[in-house]
Amino acid sequence: MVSALLTAALVILSLAILACTYRLIKGPTRPDRIAALDTIGINLLAMIAVIGMLLRTQDFIEIILVIGILAFIGTTALARYIERGVVIERGDDEHGR
């Protein structure tokens, strides 16, 4: 019963990732694609938590942390890139874009 509910949660989360993939491929502008990638990362994190509960193990918690950090850093870097054209600005030259 409980594992059936958890499996249903897994199915819903994978359908959500599928919908985000549609937006990632079709998305008319680049910020659309970045938002879709961020949502894919967040949903993947939830899926890994549910899989860890289904397998009754605590080994996946580090993976949850790492995916959360990577999703945030990736979204930040991509947003900076489309806003300014560079990810890391060099301090010594002002016209180095």
Binding site: M1, V2, L5, L6, A8, A9, L10, I12, L13, L15, A16, I17, L18, A19, C20, Y22, R23, T29, R30, P31, D32, I34, A35, A36, D38, T39, I42, N43, L45, A46, A49, V50, G52, M53, R56, T57, Q58, I61, E62, I64, L65, G68, I69, A71, F72, T75, T76, A79, R80, I82, E83
Partner: protein, 122 residues
């Protein structure tokens, strides 16, 4: 009692998964970047927080580990996910993505124009 506790946790997780599915539905159906970002950020954050809270309770009661890493993950996602959505929206506005044609308010435009006027005066 044991079964009821597991059922409560499973319902919490299912609720979170339903919110994630709702946010993905909004991401597909809404008309422009800013409305999509509204759907993708808030409800996905709530759904993931529900799933992770369910996982924390599950680990505490049935694997018998109080996992502080999971608490750190909950706090981290709660802080960073809206910040990432906001950064993405600001980058979209600054790079000139148009609003939906039925939008009735644009608070950012007069501020940007005022800043541009002050810069050109200097």
């Amino acid at each position: 009692m044991n079964m009821a506790g597991e059922l409560l946790i499973a319902v919490l997780v299912l609720f979170g998964a339903l919110f994630c599915g709702l946010s993905a539905f909004g991401l597909v159906r809404l008309p422009d970047v800013y409305l999509r970002s509204h759907a993708a950020t808030k409800s996905a954050t709530l759904g993931v927080l529900c799933v992770l809270a369910g996982a924390f309770l599950y680990m505490m009661f049935y694997v018998e580990v109080v996992s502080f890493k999971l608490l750190i993950a909950i706090v981290f996602v709660f802080i960073t996910s809206p910040v990432a959505g906001h950064l993405n929206g600001r980058a979209a506005y600054r790079s000139g993505v148009k609003l939906w044609e039925n939008s009735i308010q644009d608070d950012m435009k007069p501020v940007l124009e005022r800043n541009k006027g002050m810069q050109s005066k200097n």
